[in-house]
């Protein structure tokens, strides 16, 4: 050790000893700093711990819901053989299980209590063992429910529930000629198990913090369709070994797994590939034909009639055939069979008119027709006479008579003749006419596919075709998608709403108050060190040394405060989490959050508090030393009342102008009143300042008092008045503005440009409704025949399920539900308003975007601006990638952002695009109802009643919109509560102001004491000053706050006036109490001791 260092070390230790001795000596004054820094530290660490706890809880909830699931292989809206999971498991060595996820709802059989938002899963014996729940199995006729659903239904084991769900019919009900029969199963089941979360009861792969209501059935009870085949639509994989699931699936997938089958035409010997979905996807057709080029597509369609002149033949099949297999078909004409030629008296060269329901028109059943010239007449026994050309339409092929067809379209029985029945009995659905495939595809190709069969030459064996087909069945083409559910859940939680930042923002007032208090406390502490520091300065210590000494002392105090504070923060976190699970659950939509400890928030909070306080102390110490070392005896500055009065008058004039404008320009009233409130705030502050710095008139009927003279102090120090007045007033002003910002339903929101689009009701159904509720047939179907309903119209929207992207979901969401809407209707009624548009001005109405597809597999979408910003974390112009039903990427460009609307949580696309890219989505699940406002309740009641079988729930559109306000309003409540705490904390700063003023003027008060002023009178002098400051602050904040919120006050009930009054009262009571307490600390003995100097 060199000699220089040897000298430094004892010197440093001496300085440290001095610092510690000084701290011990001034410990009573130091304690304020420690307490305030502890509070600041607790607030910051509490916020950070809350953010950490929320994210941990979200992660835990997501993982708990997934159970053992890592990977989900989904077939979307299609089905596959449950045995596929065994093949995946065998190929990967990973446990895998098939389930069937479907829509539906359930009711308590005894009480009728219904649960609409239920997750329904069809399981087999492997599901619960997969999740580590050993022997738990759901047998046929039984149901397992989770605790959440059991609580909702108030049901126990052994009791019965009614479950209504979509059966696993492979043929989508909206496919052409799908049977009109209701394909929704309804069963009464015994609740065999109430399954706790640890046994997989809360299983749900969706990303949401809410605990779902879950119902488990036996997959066999959900089998639908003609053959009641057990089918699945999801494979859950527990990833023990990493695997490429696309590759695995390609290698194990067989045609039979996805409902494809091969058969041989009895007539031609050709091999034929058909699907239990009837139509074969165009993409799949292309893929197969790419692999087996000798294959040819066939499309057979039901036409309503053939007509030549006055002769007509009803309801017949027409096959569109490939020219390779049927030479002569590509002439552009039509070949008809002999039976039809006889029936129509037709000869080659005649023109026949075909009429059919356009497959693109869906349930609106738009009839189209086209003339064909008759190219030839086919013989009865040729290869055209092939009954296998008719697809196996479930409602038709099994029927014994034409009249008995259930083709999903109206069959006019009067048109069916005996000869038609005879034909059916003899030839079944053998097509009566034939056109080229290319023409047929153009006429009848639809969203479900462009072929009803693929024909292969007889030279290829079934086995050979089957083998070659396997290589064509790549997952993305067969509608499969593979997702890493665990990663998605973790990502959703990791990118969820940042509660750390949120609570730091909500604690803004508390943090500001702490900093103000800390500033006061440091000043008070430094004041106590004034004499000591002055002596040391006089002894020749440099400013830098003195500053460092003060800095080190306060730094040690900061350390002593920050350390316990961060642990207090954890306790605060416990309180906040408890509040979020109870009184503030509106903000998080769950009661399952739990506090979680981690060293990181603790370290962040500790270091940030230390840095913040040291920066503040650094500047305070500089300021203190600057004042201390300033030459004494300077002239005190007297402030000009005239300038103040002029400024006040000018500001008041501006206020009056803006205020009056607020009444005369109603369109801008909110902004104008806010601005006028702010200006009034400034003018009241200036008035307060003027009140203190003006020259008091002396003459009067009363003698002046000590208070008159006391007030003069502030004419030299107006900042001692203005600063606390601004702080108190700003706090109250902010609280009032916050109160006014509470979202409530206004009349404007109920109008067409508002968030409800002017619709009366918003409704959702657990099971899709197929019929058009505005059309006569739909109304007849559901018995909506009342005269009062004649003005009711219903906008129906189809839905592709996804993760809720509304503010009710705290997680980051990548796949929101898609809603297919009739945007033309919105354009027509000028419904809803937009916050942002991708290309402003290009479209008259942003809704038009939905009808303009910018590219193949690329469409426009619209969502609520809040959903874009917070839920999806995207902007207009960004693209979200979805998987369409056939597995292809679907790019949705965000075209516009809606102002707050009932559609929050959804991504809106046109209904045409939805049915194009998701053809299997049946019916409508979301409804907007319009009509006569006075009948709104009646509409809701009737619809709920008549459509109860669909789990239909209609509420007023306003109520739906208001439900989203809960989250914002809860945050505002939290802000108000934290703000009040902050205010109260800040108000205690008035105590510091009082003590500081007292300390600065101690000698003055000592003299007053010597002059005969009692200590009580001195206390009153000081107290009265501070109470007047408090009153100025309260009046300024309240008056300007009221002015700024006049529009809210005028509009009725949105201002929580009671709460605000209570908060202001609390501020007054706290301020008064703090001031009394502080003034009480002024002791006569202390004043007198100042005079006892020898």
């Amino acid at each position: 050790m060199n000699s220089k260092l040897k000298n430094i070390i004892p010197m440093k230790s001496d300085i440290l000893r001095m610092i510690l001795k000084s701290l011990v000596y001034h410990r009573k004054d130091a304690v304020y700093q420690i307490i305030i820094i502890s509070v600041l530290s607790a607030v910051i660490s509490g916020s950070l711990f809350t953010g950490h706890s929320v994210r941990s809880s979200l992660k835990r909830a997501s993982l708990e819901k997934l159970g053992s699931t890592d990977i989900i292989i989904s077939s979307g809206l299609r089905y596959f053989d449950p045995a596929l999971s065994e093949k995946v498991s065998a190929a990967t060595g990973n446990p895998a299980v098939s389930i069937l996820e479907t829509d539906g709802y359930c009711s308590n059989f005894s009480t009728g209590v219904t649960a609409l938002n239920v997750r329904i899963y069809g399981t087999d014996d492997t599901f619960f063992p997969f999740h580590g729940s050993g022997s738990l199995r759901i047998a046929r006729g039984e149901a397992g429910i989770n605790q959440s659903l059991a609580r909702h239904l108030d049901i126990g084991e052994g009791e019965e529930i009614i479950v209504r769900f979509r059966e696993t019919d492979p043929l989508p009900s909206n496919a052409p000629f799908a049977p009109a029969k209701d394909d929704h199963g309804s069963v009464v089941l015994k609740v065999s198990h109430i399954i706790p979360p640890e046994r997989g009861g809360n299983f749900s792969p969706g990303i949401s913090q809410q605990i779902p209501m879950v119902l488990f059935l036996n997959m066999a009870d959900m089998a639908g369709g003609q053959n009641k085949r057990i089918q699945a639509n999801r494979i859950l994989v527990s990833q023990v070994n990493k695997a490429d699931y696309n590759e695995i699936l390609s290698s194990v997938l067989t045609p039979a797994d996805i409902g494809l089958s091969l058969r041989t035409s009895a007539k031609t010997g050709e091999r034929e590939l058909i699907s239990d979905r009837i139509f074969l996807d165009s993409l799949l057709v292309s893929e197969i034909l790419g692999n087996i080029p000798t294959g040819e597509p066939v499309l057979t369609y039901l036409v309503n009639s053939f007509r030549i002149r006055d002769k007509s033949t009803p309801y017949s099949f027409v096959a569109a055939l490939p020219g390779h297999l049927y030479p002569g078909i590509d002439t552009g004409g039509i070949i008809i069979n002999k039976w039809l030629a006889a029936d129509l008296d037709a000869v080659p060269g005649d023109t026949v008119r075909l009429s059919w329901y356009d497959p693109a028109s869906g349930k609106s059943l738009e009839e189209k027709s086209r003339d064909f010239y008759i190219a030839a007449i086919a013989g009865d026994n040729g290869h055209y006479a092939d009954s296998s050309l008719m697809p196996d339409f479930p409602g038709i092929s099994g029927s014994t008579t034409c009249a008995g067809w259930d083709a999903g379209v109206p069959i006019l029985l009067a048109q069916i003749r005996k000869k038609d029945e005879d034909y059916w009995n003899r030839y079944r659905g053998t097509p009566k006419a034939f056109i080229s495939y290319e023409i047929g595809k153009r006429l009848w190709g639809n969203n479900f596919g462009t072929a009803t069969a693929l024909r292969f030459p007889s030279s290829l064996s079934i086995e050979e075709i089957d083998g070659r087909l396997r290589s064509s069945l790549i997952p993305s083409v067969t509608g499969f998608s593979i997702s890493n559910a665990r990663d998605s859940a973790l990502e959703g939680a990791a990118q969820s709403v940042d509660f750390s930042s949120l609570f730091l923002s909500l604690s803004f007032f508390m943090i500001v108050s702490c900093l103000i208090l800390l500033s006061f406390a440091v000043s008070v502490y430094f004041d106590t060190r004034k004499k000591q520091t002055a002596i040391m300065y006089a002894l020749g210590f440099r400013n830098s040394f003195l500053r460092n000494q003060l800095f080190c002392e306060s730094g040690l105090l900061s350390f002593a405060g920050a350390l316990p504070g961060v642990f207090l923060g954890y306790l605060l976190n416990l309180l906040i989490i408890r509040a979020l699970n109870s009184v503030w659950s509106g903000a998080v939509q769950t009661t399952a959050l739990s506090a979680d400890f981690s060293i990181l928030p603790l370290l962040y909070a500790f270091s940030s508090v230390l840095v913040i306080s040291l920066i503040l102390i650094f500047f305070k110490s500089r300021q203190f030393l600057r004042q201390l070392t300033k030459p004494a005896g300077g002239v005190m500055k007297k402030h000009s009342p005239r300038i103040n009065l002029a400024a006040f008058s000018a500001v008041l004039t501006v206020f009056i102008i803006v205020f009056v404008c607020g009444f005369t320009l109603p369109d801008y009233s909110t902004t104008l009143f806010f601005v006028s409130g702010t200006i009034l705030f400034a003018s009241v502050v200036l008035l307060a300042r003027f009140f203190y710095i003006r020259e008091s008139p002396e003459a009067g009927s009363k003698a002046p008092s000590a208070f008159t003279f006391q007030k003069k102090y502030y004419s030299f120090h107006p900042s001692h008045i203005v600063t606390p007045v601004i702080f108190i007033a700003a706090g109250i002003f902010a609280l009032m503005i916050t109160g006014a910002n509470k979202l409530i339903l206004t009349d404007k929101m109920l109008e067409r440009p508002g968030g409800t689009g002017g619709y009366l009701l918003w409704a959702e159904s657990a099971v899709p409704v197929k019929e058009d509720l505005s059309a006569g047939s739909g109304r007849a179907e559901y018995g909506l025949n009342e005269e009062e309903l004649k003005d009711m119209s219903v906008i129906q929207c189809s839905r592709v399920t996804g993760d809720d992207a509304s503010c009710l979901n705290l997680n980051y969401v990548a796949s929101p539900p898609l809603l297919g809407v009739d945007y033309r209707e919105f354009i027509k009624r000028k419904a809803f308003s937009f916050a942002s548009v991708i290309r402003p001005g290009k479209y008259t109405d942003p809704w038009e975007l939905l009808g303009n597809n910018p590219g193949e597999n690329t469409i426009y979408g619209i969502a609520d601006q809040t959903v874009l910003q917070w839920g999806l974390q995207v902007r207009t112009g960004d693209t979200l990638v979805f998987r369409s039903e056939n597995g292809q990427p679907l790019n949705v460009i965000i075209g516009a952002g809606l102002k707050s609307s009932v559609f929050q949580g959804y991504l809106l696309i046109s209904k045409e695009n939805l049915s194009h890219f998701y053809p299997s989505v049946e019916g409508s699940s979301v409804f907007l109802v319009d009509g006569l406002p006075e009948l709104s309740e009646f509409y809701g009641k009737i619809l709920n009643e008549r459509l109860s079988g669909y789990g239909f729930s209609a509420i007023s559109a306003g109520e739906k919109l208001a439900s989203f306000f809960r989250v914002t309003n809860t945050y505002l409540n939290v802000f108000a509560v934290f703000g009040t705490f902050g205010m109260i904390l800040g108000i205690t700063g008035l105590g510091f102001v009082l003590l500081r003023n007292y300390n600065i003027r101690k000698h003055e008060f000592a003299f007053l004491s010597a002059s005969g002023y009692t200590v009580e009178r001195i206390r009153k002098l000081i107290l009265r000053d501070q109470l007047i400051i408090l009153a100025w602050g309260v009046v300024c904040g309240t008056v300007s706050g009221i002015t700024a919120t006049i529009p809210s006050l005028r509009s009725g009930s949105e201002m929580p006036l009671g709460l605000l009054a209570a908060m202001i009262l609390l501020v007054i009571i706290t301020g008064t109490a703090v001031l009394y307490f502080s003034a009480g600390g002024i002791k006569s003995s202390e004043l007198i001791s100042l005079l006892r100097k020898e």
């Binding site: 005896g633 005190m636 003698a703 000590a706 003279f709 102090y713 002059s1011 009692t1014 006892r1092």
Partner: protein, 222 residues
Amino acid sequence: MLELKKVSKSYTQRGMVLGDLDLVVRDGDAIAVTGPSGSGKTTLINIIGTLDHPDSGDVIFRGRSVSTLDADESASYRNRNIGFVFQDHLLLPHLTVGENILLPLFASDIGLSEYEEKKKNASGLMKRIGISPLAGKYPFQISGGEAQRATLVRALINKPSLLLADEPTGSLDAENARILGDLLVEINRETGLTLLIVTHSDALASRMKTHLILENGKLKTI
């Protein structure tokens, strides 16, 4: 007027400062107390002015013991009977000289007529002491001597019967100290106001009727 009977006072760190001290002060007396630093001069004045309490003994003012008065009674006693002049002028910086002089009037509620009367009296005093032109000035606008003269007027505003002065000339130059001394002597002579002055200044002490030395806790006459 005032009698101190066997008054003792000691402090933990400093030990005994006054020991069985006796003193009798009559109306119109002008007494100077001198003594070395730490001899207890200020303690003596504080005990008489009830700014401090004796450990034992009694202080009797006009026949009434004042050593056991509570805080409020002490304040009232000081306000009505005692005028204080300290070494530092202790003028409130935000008040004019005139306002500073009037300040003791407001230690208790005061009626308009009484206020007007005392204000008139203060005016006369200011004129008499030669500080009338300073009435509207602030303390930072006047000299130390002027400030101390203002303090004297302030001490007299309530017409006290006893003026206690603790080193009144301690912070003044010789000329100003002389002027203040002259004023004190004149006031005593003209009004009969009793003076008890604690000072290190022999020049000031020698101008008083009685000069006492405080030594070893007791007063001795020179």
